[in-house]
């Protein structure tokens, strides 16, 4: 609670700094580096929220946004996600599957680690074996579970043959998954990490600073800047102050309020990363009251999505249609957008015998906007005749708490392919199935989709699965949040890419004017 109050206070005082700053807003016309071409040289200083002294440089342990960005600066994956979450080759030059989709042959490009050694098939297999080690608990372990590592082999130094346990057309999603980085064979010590990424290690002080330098031999071309420094600042206002004071050049994750406050200020430029975060309420289907499809439909209809986006996201986002992945590959655009129909919602609530029913909505400060979205949505539910009580949970253990407890909670998700969202959250066997959506016919459709080599055929099955979710599912997806990053006007080359995709928080393509 303490930090929440502190944050609220910071928000209130942001206006004060702005008011004091407006006096100096009359400088020369805004000239951003983005208008000129890329320039070489300089030290790019980027500020992120961090994990204190607990941070690690082990790319397989990456958890925080700052760790994901650092990993991508120092290491490579075989593939990564484009802005629409389709897979782009990276260290893998190309891949092809056999007709049964159970054997995948991946050809590596010519690339080298920072110590001068080439990236070989053995490094790939050893990295994957480390992540998949049954005795350990790396995050991407379940993602790699589809690979039969014992039968997989290095055909030669630049060719890996992966044997899968079942046909899997979306295997490239595995190569691009969060945290599946390639490290030199047998690496266990990451105090001075050696990767094949665009920057190489110089020095690290956990919770404070990581200094990297340009890898002139990077396979995709050397970065524009000479040095890249990650600095840690947990308070958003401190990141913005450091940027305004010229102490950093890039501030990750700022609020929509800050963006609006400094609009037109020539000391700060804002880039919107659209479609970065899905915002939802999750209803549990295996228990009262949301085991009643009529009541779920009432919830979908009583939600005023526009109001949620305007108030909770301060307008920085788009409304959702109860489906994950707007704008991503295979997203079912053709399903009509749900709009509010309060009268019908009231009628459905009455019909379900739920008028005046007490419902608990679980929320916490685990993600920004959760508490606000709960209070706005509770009001909307009350208008439809439900009696809602908003319960504040512990922010550190929230995700575990909502997995099995309660019936309605705030939920959010970062970007991932729609297939991964299905696999992790919507199959009977999914370990993080918050809505308890367990439908054998849905599982069967998934199995069918991922065994189809033809992309068009797969798209049709995915659309069918999304229609099921839209009609009967437990995710009330009300919006997609833009993520905002702020940069000094000297910085050019910041891409608009959803968080967790290749071009997000990627600094080898950024330059300083």
């Amino acid at each position: 609670m303490h930090s929440l109050n502190r944050r609220a206070f910071l928000g209130a005082t942001a206006g004060l700094s702005a008011a004091l700053l407006t006096g100096c807003g009359s400088g020369p016309a805004t000239g951003t580096a983005a208008t000129g071409g890329p320039r070489k040289g300089g030290r790019l200083r980027v500020a992120f929220a961090g994990g204190g002294a607990q941070e690690t440089l082990d790319p397989h342990l990456s958890n925080l946004f700052v760790e994901a960005s650092r990993s991508k600066a120092m290491f490579d994956k075989l593939a990564d996600y484009g802005p629409d979450l389709s897979v782009r080759p990276r260290l893998a030059e190309r891949w092809e599957a056999d007709a049964g989709l159970t054997t995948w042959r991946v050809t590596l490009r010519q690339a080298g680690f920072h110590n001068g050694k080439p990236v070989r098939a053995a490094d790939v297999l050893s990295s994957y074996a480390r992540i998949a080690d049954p005795a350990r608990a790396f995050r991407a372990k379940t993602t790699l579970a589809v690979i039969d590592l014992k039968r997989s082999r290095a055909v030669d130094d630049r060719t890996v043959e992966f044997a899968l346990k079942q046909p899997f057309a979306e295997f490239p999603n595995v190569l691009a998954a969060f945290g599946v980085f390639i490290v030199p064979e047998g690496t266990e010590d990451f105090t001075r990490p050696v990767g094949s990424g665009p920057f190489s290690f110089v020095s690290f002080e956990p919770g404070r600073s990581l200094l990297l330098k340009r890898n002139a031999d990077y396979w995709e071309g050397a970065p524009h800047v000479d040095e890249l420094q990650y600095l840690i600042s947990n308070e958003e206002s401190a990141r913005v102050n450091a940027l305004l004071g010229g102490q950093v050049d890039y501030a990750h994750d700022i609020t929509a309020t800050t963006a609006r406050t400094y609009q037109g200020n020539d000391r700060l430029a804002v880039t919107r990363l659209t479609n970065s975060g899905m915002q939802a309420f999750a209803m549990k289907l295996d228990r009262a009251p949301f085991n009643d499809p009529g009541l779920r439909e009432a919830m979908f209809l009583l939600a005023d999505r526009g109001q949620l986006v305007d108030t909770v996201l301060a307008g920085a986002g788009q409304v959702g249609n109860d489906l994950f992945g707007r704008g991503y590959q295979y997203y079912a655009e053709e399903i009509p957008q749900r709009t509010r129909d309060l009268e019908k919602a009231k009628w459905l609530v009455e019909k379900a015998g739920a008028k005046g029913m007490k419902i608990q909505l679980d929320t916490s400060a685990a993600a920004s906007g959760f508490v606000e979205s709960a209070s706005v949505f509770a009001d909307q539910m009350r208008q439809a005749g439900l009696d809602v009580n908003v319960a504040m949970g512990n922010k550190d253990t929230y995700w575990k708490d909502i997995l099995d407890k309660g019936s309605l909670c705030c939920f959010r998700s970062g970007a991932m392919p729609i297939e991964t969202h299905f696999a992790q959250r919507l199959l009977s066997t999914s370990t993080v199935n918050v809505t308890k959506w367990k439908r054998p016919e849905f599982d069967a459709l998934y199995t069918k989709a991922v065994s189809l080599a033809d992309e068009k055929a797969r798209r049709d099955v995915y659309a069918e699965m999304q229609r099921m979710q839209h009609a009967e599912g437990g995710y009330l997806v009300w919006g997609f949040a833009d993520w905002l990053v702020a940069t000094s006007p000297r910085v050019g080359g910041i891409a608009d890419a959803p968080a967790n995709t290749l071009d997000w928080a990627r600094f080898d393509k950024v330059w300083l004017a």
Binding site: S3, R6, F9, L10, T13, L16, S17, L20, L21, G23, C24, R45, A47, G51, G52, A53, Q54, E55, T56, N63, A135, R136, A137, R139, K141, T142, E205, P206, G207, R208, S209, Q229, L231, I232, S233, N234, E235, S237, A238, N241, A242, L244, G245, Q247, V248, N394, K395, D396, T397, W399, K400, D401, L403, S413, Q424, T431, V432
Partner: protein, 316 residues
Amino acid sequence: MSLPRYAARRLLLGLAQILAVTALVFVLTEALPGDAAVVLAGDTPDPERIERIRRELGLDRPAPVRYADWLLGLLRGDLGSSLTAGRPVTGFLADAGGPTVQLAAITLLLLVPLAVAVGVVAAVREGRLLDRALTSVGIGLYSVPEFALAVMLVALFALRLGWFPPTAVGVGPNLLAQPAVLVLPLLVLLARPICSISRLVRAGMIDALRSDYVRHALRLGLSVRRVRLAHALPNAVAPAVQQLARTTDWLLGGVIAVEAVFVIPGLGTSLVSAVSARDIPVIQGLALVFAATTVTVNLVADVVAFRLAPRAGGAT
């Protein structure tokens, strides 16, 4: 009671207090919902994975066993390793301790002469314009929370006027390498203790100046200046020394607000992140440092007060 006996008794009591604090902190941390495994799993709380992390971290052993292990390690001078980062806790303490100790030390160095001077000047001019001005400013400043003061100072002196850097971001553990970053945090840290300590010095000084022995000394023909500084002042500062001890505790607590606004990764920030990560060895290490500091500082303050004015310290 003689001073050495008094000090020895207090020292033993202090050790018992430190041990009690670590036990209490351990119990309280255990009572927090979830453990390091749950926090590490984050937004993918795969139950099987949480169990595996728990086994990896040794969290599957009963709490008393883990506390006993920690105590045994402590006897060997080993504070254990962070659950989440795997690095030794002593390294954490050294890294985070640097900036906090620097800030606290400089604050105290400036605080003592400033507060005593302000208090003495106000007492000597009791009831006059200067005294009333110092009193009003002091009470006004004392009522501004550190956080609000920090935000205002940053907005004015860093962002508007550009005189000082707004944060200490990018400065290494040695803040003295860039003294400019210290100015605003020091102003915030000094503001309230100056008020409280100078008020105490002023009150003590006024009492002392009215006392019989001061009047007697003046009757004997000693100079006013000598009477004030050599006779009145030592009696006046005894209560202030104890307040100073409390201030030191507060400073070493890292003054979480100040560390947050100015991005100073000190002990306060460490404690907050260790608690939210449920990183028990780190929390225990920090608790040990805080408890030891508190006990030591209060012990020293009491001994000093005992020396300065035996009537004040002897009763405790």
